[in-house]
């Protein structure tokens, strides 16, 4: 079977699956699922750049999605007049001023070896200056945060167009990725996995607890859409419009990535991934190129994440979980075929459909199991059966990762071997 017929067969099967879901659960539900699947496909394209093209191990996708969603929320949410009329902006500006002064002072202190201060003393002074700056800024920020929370609930947004918000979200995710990449890219992949896992948890902890920025657990809603909302057009039409926006994004990203993949730049990236030493010997700046890839991937992840959260129309920092927003995407990429953009899109759509369908299926199975074990053996089912049943999905995701890595490491639509005659 040639590659093309294989792809055609797989996508036809997927189309039948989608048609079944539409027929079974209705058009409005089907379109919603497709929009979410499309957003995940965009995120998965970002990951396939990092993993498939450059071999970078990013386990903190959740963090990049969360930071992008947060920035996008701040940019697009309507302006909060209470905040701008109150004392909040002034106090924030004061804290910001302290931060700038402190940062400058710390930088100056760190340069003190130039005037003959011993290196060790200089390092000590720098650390002390940084700690002092931190404490001063924190003590200025705490009352500001408390004041904003009591005066205006939270800072509100800037009320700018949604497309700008998504771009800003992508940029924020890229910037975070840049700083992470600078630290870990020179080291082995394990360190990057540990560091990205950590940064994701930190971003989540920050967004969850910074009530003055994000309303914390109270969540921000409704987020403005780039297309008319269901209130104006009805569910099916507005969701279809949203779907077409995301689909356009996917097509544009796909075309650009395919072009890049076949360009000299893409060839260089594969060379670095497959044999780092040889590529370095040919004069390629391996770490710089990897950083490029990592940032680019994170920008796409960020845009996809912003689109995903905008669609749900509610910004809930507690709703980000490593399972849904990191490892699910990993399964999509390695099952679909890392390094093959079409395969990645296929994997994302397929895995997401299975994933959404598996929730009611798991609950049904567990309820049946509980019912029969009670009837046959007189065992009483635990009260938290529903939450436990959902843990089964964690297990299945883990099993899928290990099985695919062992038995189909190249995925359903493997990467094309490019030959140059």
């Amino acid at each position: 079977m040639t590659e093309r017929t294989r792809a055609f067969a797989l996508f036809s099967g997927l189309a039948i699956l989608v048609a079944l879901v539409f027929a079974w659960l209705g058009v409005a539900y089907g379109v919603r699922m497709m929009v979410e699947a499309a957003c995940f496909a965009l995120i998965a394209l970002g990951l396939t750049i990092q993993w498939g093209y450059a071999g970078l191990f990013n386990t903190g996708i959740m963090g990049f999605i969360a930071i992008a969603a947060f920035v996008s929320m701040i940019v697009s949410y309507p302006v909060n007049g209470l905040f701008w009329e109150g004392h909040g902006p002034g106090m924030l500006a004061r804290a910001g001023l302290f931060l700038i002064i402190g940062a400058c002072a710390t930088y100056l202190v760190s340069q003190c070896t130039r005037i003959g201060v011993p290196k060790k003393l200089c390092n000590l002074l720098t650390v002390m200056a940084a700690a002092a700056t931190y404490l001063v800024v924190q003590s200025a920020l705490d009352p500001a945060a408390a004041l904003i929370e009591s005066e205006a609930r939270f800072v509100g947004g800037l009320g700018l167009p949604v497309w700008l918000a998504w771009a800003a979200g992508g940029a924020a995710a890229g910037a975070l990725g840049w700083s992470m990449g600078r630290i870990t890219l020179g080291l082995r992949a394990d360190y990057m996995a540990i560091a990205t896992l950590g940064i994701a948890e930190i971003v989540k902890a920050f967004l969850k607890n910074a009530d003055w920025l994000t309303k914390g657990t109270l969540t921000v809603s409704p987020l403005p859409w780039p297309v008319p909302t269901p209130n104006e057009l009805g569910f099916v039409l507005s969701r279809s419009a949203y779907l077409s926006v995301v689909a356009v994004l996917i097509v544009v990203t796909y075309v650009l990535l395919e072009r890049a993949w076949h360009s000299p730049w893409g060839r260089m990236m594969r060379a670095i991934r497959d044999n780092e030493v040889a590529a370095a010997a040919m004069g390629k700046d391996v770490n710089r190129r990897r950083l490029e890839m990592f940032v680019l991937g994170n920008i796409i992840i960020g845009v996809g994440g912003a689109a995903l959260i905008t669609f749900t129309s509610i910004f809930d920092p507690g709703g980000f979980t490593p399972l849904n927003h990191t490892f699910l995407i990993w399964v999509m990429v390695i099952l679909g075929g890392s390094g093959n953009n079409l395969g990645t899109i296929f994997g994302a759509l397929l895995v997401y459909i299975i994933w959404t369908m598996s929730e009611p299926a798991a609950l049904f199975l567990f309820e049946q199991g509980a019912y029969w074990s009670e009837r046959l053996f007189g065992l009483e089912a635990p009260g938290d059966l529903a939450t436990r049943a959902l843990q089964m999905r964690v297990f299945v995701i883990g099993l899928a990762i290990t099985l695919v890595l062992r038995f189909a490491p190249r995925g359903l639509l493997p990467e094309k071997d490019v030959r140059y005659e």
Partner: protein, 338 residues
């Protein structure tokens, strides 16, 4: 007597209780986990993500054994879970060896890139998480159902307080460290493990059996993880959703100590534990006795902590980043895997 009253004994004891002892306790737990992580990292060369879940598994096995034989502890006058802990350690060690056989060994034989094994370990982590929570539920559980013995050491007005599980934790950690030291320096297998960690190719050509070294590594790592998990659950509660919150400090400890350095891992564990505790410690308590000496306009804030408690996970992360930037080999000059 007047002199003694003027001294800030109360605050000092408070500091020992909430700062030093708390740091030592959580540091010992991290150390027990980090030894396993650093051995696996040094010998098998990958970051073992399911280690936190292995600790939870050990605690869960101890919990089940305690439920099966609740009376054992009373025979010797110690908590039942602690008496049955060796059994839990054996079970977890077996599970660790089996996991290696089932999931990592085939990949090693296929000679994949190291990063693929890391990813497989993440898959195993999710599987363990799912299974443990499926059977144990997501709520917290009490491992030690009886009342805890509390030891008090009266110093001035306030007591230094230690519970029985904490004393057992210190004792076990000390014994484990000495035993590990003797094993690594005196026994044949221990020397083989160190050789393997230093130079795998050289070790292999000098006739060291890779398989038995790998098996021993998993046995030690699994047993210590089970012990750490059980002791943590004895001290506080058994939380099935600990995973991410404990694996990050453990990795930080292993990397700070230097990869492949068991003593470094112990030092790193204690360092991370202390830093974490002191970062969230409320320092204003210690400033209060100085109040008469300070000028009137200076008001001591009610709370001076470097990091609010809800951001505790930031601390090990910053230690990790700082070490990776300035000294990627760790304080004990471990390996830098490329």
């Amino acid at each position: 007597m007047g002199m003694l009253e003027a001294l800030p004994i109360n605050e000092f004891v408070f500091f020992i209780n909430k700062g030093v002892l708390a740091g030592l306790i959580i540091g010992s737990i991290y150390a027990l986990g980090a030894v396993g992580v650093t051995l696996i990292f040094g010998i098998l060369r990958f970051a073992h993500f399911p280690h936190g879940d292995m600790m939870t598994l050990g605690a869960f096995v101890a919990l089940m054994l305690t439920a099966l034989a609740p009376g054992v502890g009373d025979l010797v006058g110690l908590p039942t879970a602690f008496v049955l802990m060796p059994l839990a350690m054996i079970v977890t060690a077996f599970v660790a060896v089996w996991l290696d056989k089932a999931f990592y060994a085939p990949l090693r034989r296929a000679n994949v890139k190291p990063v693929v094994i890391v990813m497989a370990s993440i898959g195993v982590m999710l599987m363990m998480q799912g299974l443990i929570r499926l059977f144990a539920g997501t709520g917290t559980r009490q491992l030690d159902t009886g009342s805890k013995d509390i030891y008090r050491l009266a110093v001035g007005g306030r007591d230094i307080v230690l519970t029985e599980p904490q004393v057992l934790l210190f004792a076990f950690t000390a014994v484990a460290v000495v035993a590990l030291h003797l094993f690594l320096t005196r026994s044949r297998m221990g020397k083989a493990m160190r050789a393997m960690s230093d130079n795998p190719d050289l070790a292999r050509v000098s006739g060291i059996s890779t398989d038995s070294v790998v098996r021993t590594t998993w046995i030690i790592a699994g047993a210590l993880a089970a012990a750490g998990g059980t002791l943590l659950a004895l001290d506080v509660t058994l939380k099935p959703d600990l995973s991410f919150n404990i694996i990050l400090p453990i990795f930080a400890a292993a990397i700070v100590g230097g990869i492949g350095q068991p003593y470094g891992a112990i030092a790193g564990g204690l360092l991370v534990g202390f830093t974490e505790t002191l970062a969230v410690f409320n320092w204003s308590v210690l400033l209060r006795p100085l109040k008469p000496l300070l000028p009137d306009w200076f008001e001591i804030p009610a709370k001076i902590a470097f990091v609010p408690t809800e951001y505790k996970i930031v601390v090990p992360f910053f230690i990790l980043i700082a070490v990776l930037i300035w000294r990627p080999t760790g304080i004990f000059k471990g390996k830098l895997l490329k």
